[in-house]
């Protein structure tokens, strides 16, 4: 599903990251761990096509995303990659449901309202559908961002420290949901984290 080869990213003349090759298939979960400053977030951004590597290749679903133009990459990202960030950001003026619909509209110009509602109910969030995102707690916001990441049924689900700002109970809920839903939609799940709670839970891990 996704594999990388010899990915190198040059931040500036002093800082250069050389990442190990990694591979993750559908329904699998891969944990990427490492201390701060090792380039965890950089690697995640490279995998998500937010950054371009200095050299090397990243194959997602047999497309080398390093070779795509900026516009094509935006489209590819929308269609194939779901991204969950440490802190969830939303369009503040839109409701929870509209924020999720927007993600599907931006990719293929359709508003998957039913699908969005279904995802929200899977996440136990259906009664917040018409709330503004600023009215939710952080744990709830994180669940909404999972719904948003999954609305287009991406092949690859990337999560950047999804649990680090959550308490134990919420961290467990979010981790469960990530695994359950990525398997329901046949996605490869890559989690970048230094969260001990996740390290204990997932066995497949790469240490940077």
């Amino acid at each position: 599903m996704i594999h990388t080869e010899n990915v190198v990213f040059q931040y500036n003349s002093e800082t250069q990251f050389q990442f190990p090759d990694l591979r993750c298939n559908s329904n699998e979960t891969l944990l990427i761990t490492g201390a701060s400053g090792k380039g965890k977030t950089t690697l995640l951004h490279l995998l998500g096509g937010l950054l371009k590597p200095t050299s090397g290749s990243i194959q997602i679903n047999s497309t080398d995303i390093c070779g795509l133009s900026s516009k094509k990459l935006d489209h590819f990202r929308g269609q194939n990659i779901g991204l969950i960030l440490q802190k969830a950001h939303f369009i503040a003026s839109l409701t929870v449901l509209e924020n999720i619909e927007l993600a599907s509209w931006l990719t293929d110009k359709t508003k998957k309202r039913e699908k969005a509602k279904e995802l929200l109910s899977l996440l136990g969030m259906e009664k917040f559908a018409s709330k503004l995102t600023s009215q939710l707690s952080i744990g709830q916001q994180q669940r909404v961002s999972i719904a948003r990441a999954l609305i287009n049924e991406p092949k690859l689900l990337l999560a950047d420290e999804p649990t680090s700002s959550l308490d134990d109970q919420n961290a467990e809920i979010v981790a469960d949901l990530l695994v359950d839903l990525s398997q329901k939609y046949n996605s490869a799940l890559i989690i970048v984290t230094h969260d001990q709670r996740l390290k204990e839970r997932f066995k497949t891990a790469i240490e940077l």
Binding site: K71, R77, G78, K87, H89, A92, L94, E98, K109
Partner: protein
Amino acid sequence: MIFKIAWKNIWFKPLNTVLSIILLTASVAIISLLILLQKQFEKQFSSNIDGVDLVIGAKGSPMQLILSSVYQMDAPTGNINYKEAKVWMKHPYVKTAIPLAFGDNYRGFKILGTTADYLTKYDTKISSGVLFTKNFDVVLGSEVARKMNLKVGDTFFSSHGDAVEGEVHEEHPYVVKGIASSTGKVIDNLILSNIESVWAIHNHEEEAETVVATTHEHHEGDNHEHDENVVEYDNHEITAVLIKLKNKMGFVLWPRLISQNTDMQAASPAIEINRLFSLFGIGLDALQYLAYGIMLISGISIFIALYNTLKERKYEFALMRVSGASRSQLLILVLFESILLCFVGFVFGTIVGRLGLYFISTSTEQDYKMAFNPFEFAVKEEGILFLTTIFVGVIAALIPAVKAYRLNISKTLAHA
């Protein structure tokens, strides 16, 4: 969807939005009001001087003479001797000469003594009834008939002079003989009679005053000698003469000739009205600059509002990019928000401007019998105004939009 986000975004910060819209509304309202006012004002003024090359009247301000005799908007400069005026009315240069004698009023509508030529000059016909033939027969302008609800055969009493509350001349009722068709010009608001009626009521009034002074029992007042058409015109006075020339030499020669040799003056409506417009123009221009100044400020206000929210919104933008939005979609979103504001401001401004014109129109109609049409669209001028407004929106949003376009998503999210 982009429209929806833009719409929701502009209302998410209602205070910023309302400020920008108020400023835009104010500037668009002022400008569109001025555009319509100037256009309709000039049209109304110009249409009334068709067929009048010169106006002969008593010495005084030529502007006042034109305003009073052609537009019925000012007090007359005075009276002139009919006999003296006739010398010029019968001059071989003259094609038509229409004498005007200002009489009384009926509830604020002036009664004007004139000839049938006056109706011809305004291209109006008698839509019902007939033309005045005898003294105290009148033809009503269409507006007068409508507003006073008078029909052919009705009678009314006039009040003295031009004061609505003036002394009522109860001795002689005017009889409505005809109603003129609508023209959209001054004549619609006038009551027309023959000149002799004006003289007759004037004579009668003098006589009546004498009678009242001597004995209070004379109330019948019917045995007077002036209700017949036999009047020695020569000693009578009229107010002005509207002249249409056959020979345009008169246009050049007469003003000087008349003012040097007689107690009268000849003024050209075209020249005086141009003078009026240019005087007016300075004021209108100043107002228009002011309005464009307000529009500039509203542009700056939009710019500041967009620029300020850019810092908090860059995560939104990064997020939209992550969800598959392209750079140009973000550019369009920011531009669109600003243009939407300007569009709303333009719509409100156009409406408020017309409301303003409506109120101005009701007061000018009362004071000067001059109405403006708030539903007219000055397609060219307002089109330019619309494009200017939208242009302001684009310029105000340009820098924020480009910043959104060039946003580095990785950096933005990494520093979140």
